[in-house]
Symmetry: C2
Subunit: 366 residues, 2 copies
């Protein structure tokens, strides 16, 4: 038995630069109330525990090789399946699910977040800089409200979320607006639930780092587009039509906005960046500030004679930072006001975008 | 084989007054986007389909004997487990979950709703009167916003939801406020997500049936109380302290309320009714209108000399309508302004409470 344990440890050492796993696991902050599992330790390992006494196999879609892959759980005598990721996870938020006897289900211990076109389980690995999106005591907090916007083009309501900063209700001033789009497989809830956009704003405003602005998040209408079809399907026209004909007029009518191009920005992550890219190029008369978060680049050629007040390009260091940095250099050389941002140690996930929003917000309407 | 099938059918006939099941199944309106299952037919039967090719047993917690019990699914050659409830379900919203190989999981086809102290799957059996909580086109819609209320007594934020009627932002008038509590196992999201309180209000206001008022929903702080301990544990003081010291002052400061007893009501369903009952009796100087929805009764003796402007008592016809009707009679005889309501054909579930709110809202601040 002793020998067997040693050989397992050796394998782990070779396979994943194993370190001793610290037994300081705590429940993930994304757990359902009162749920102990999943847990996360100070090194970023995640541990799972699932009750399914009669199951043949339980796998977690997180762990192997870091971000993605899978962790096979092992059944104990109590009927609970447990397991720990073989390597530490990247800091930040991760979607995941269970595969139980060949079917996909959620972890009953975790809260659910809309991603991959389904309500997935979510887990949070505490980040060293997590304070910037923390729910802080003793500062004023803005409000997140759901609005129901009727679309003539789709003949349906589009539920959308609006963040208004603390003090908005008491003020008589006008506010700039950022239209902030989610990625493929997500919806209008992503930036508040997974991204904590409201808390990022609350903290920046409380610390005097920015002047308040409104954020509007709506569904990007892209979840019917398959990855292989992106080049073939026009997924821009539907959301562009809704935004220009319904959403922006609704927001400018129902909130105290400036209602002009100078005080209107568009940003999006991943596929939301592709939307932002195309819609801002199609309608430079509507937006003055453009931001692509892990969502591509702008080139001087495609911008033609348009000089937006700000271009912001970002991604995680585990994505394609060279491409972002080169695009920033090219745009700078061509005389554009452009800012780049690379999130250290993160991939195509929400900590990358929380950090990008934190940076973007500080320069957006300056 | 033929004989076997016949004998099953006979059992079903005896056990559940079987009728021919109409093959007009449609996806439940509570499904995740694009998901076909679970389905519901025009008679109220529910049909489930779960992918778990290697599972030994899959059970749905709905179906047998009507409301509760269970439906065992049967595996097909494609690896999908399917089954239909043995009887029609009650109209309205039901929580449910799957038991797969001994563990409890959610249906990946359904959206999740917080009930039974967990995010459960939800399914909706269309009700004959569903129009009163429908999302209607061409009427103005109010907003549901999340506020973060700091509690000195718990040293934590209590996320709460506030419904403000359409026109609130453009108006300068003051509004009455209803504090509306969920039941045991639920949280502050229940009345909007499961109860459609916002849509009920939108429709009543659009039809000119009521003058607009604000609704506030907060967490009742009861989910740590076990059923058997209800008589032994003081679950009133924590929520009463939070409401009186933190929530009501926050709402009166941050929204255009009258801020007086005359324009402040409290209502709750089930355990939220028990909270309402006790808090209104403890603090008649704070509320003028009391409503218990499947949440007990008031007696003239316990009201002492207090004469609230309105008492409202309700339940489903499958609960204890006699007790409600008798309490209403007793209170009437003692000179109280009391209204009773019994929801036809429903039990201790959300359609009962949607209907109660619909009735209550029409008389609440008259």
């Amino acid at each position: 038995m002793k020998l067997f344990v040693t050989s397992i440890l050796c394998l782990a050492t070779v396979g994943a630069m194993a370190q001793e796993i610290k037994e300081d696991f705590k429940p993930s902050t994304k757990n359902q109330p009162g749920q102990e599992y999943p847990m996360v330790n100070s090194q970023g390992y995640a541990r799972f525990r699932i009750n399914a006494p009669e199951a043949k196999a339980v796998n977690v879609s997180l762990g192997l090789g870091g971000q993605r892959g899978g962790t096979d759980l092992v059944k104990g005598e109590d009927g609970f399946w447990t397991g720990t990721t073989s390597t530490p996870m990247d800091e930040g938020f991760h979607y995941y699910h269970l595969t139980i006897d060949g079917g996909v289900f959620n972890d009953p211990g975790a809260k659910n977040y809309y991603g991959s076109c389904r309500w997935e389980s979510g887990i949070e690995i505490p980040a060293k800089d997590e304070e910037f999106y923390a729910l802080r005591k003793d500062i004023p907090h803005g409000k997140v409200q759901q609005i129901l916007v009727w679309s003539e083009s789709t003949q349906s309501y589009h539920p959308s979320y609006v963040y208004t900063p603390a003090g908005y209700d008491q003020s008589t001033e006008k506010y700039p607006v950022l239209y902030l789009q989610h990625g493929w497989g997500e919806d209008e809830t992503a930036w508040m639930n997974q991204g904590h956009a409201n808390l990022i704003m609350d903290n920046l405003i409380a610390d005097g780092k920015i002047k308040p602005f409104i954020i509007v998040c709506t569904y990007g209408m892209t979840n019917d587009v398959k990855f292989g079809q992106m080049g073939k399907v026009d997924f821009i026209t539907p959301i562009q039509t809704f935004m220009l004909e319904d959403l922006i007029p609704y927001v400018d009518k129902n909130f105290r906005t400036y209602g002009d191009k100078e005080h209107r920005a568009m940003a999006g992550l991943s596929m939301g960046g592709m939307e932002t890219h195309q819609i801002t190029l199609n309608h430079p008369e509507v937006f003055s500030r453009y931001a692509l978060l892990s969502g591509g680049i702008y080139t001087p050629a495609e911008l033609k004679n348009e000089k937006p007040a700000l271009i912001f390009l970002s991604c995680g260091s585990k994505e394609s930072p060279d491409r972002i940095n080169k695009a920033v250099d090219d745009l700078k050389a061509a005389g554009y006001n452009v800012v780049g941002h690379v999130s250290e140690g993160t991939a195509h996930e929400f900590l990358t975008w929380r950090r990008a929003l934190y940076q973007l917000a500080q320069i957006l309407f300056k």
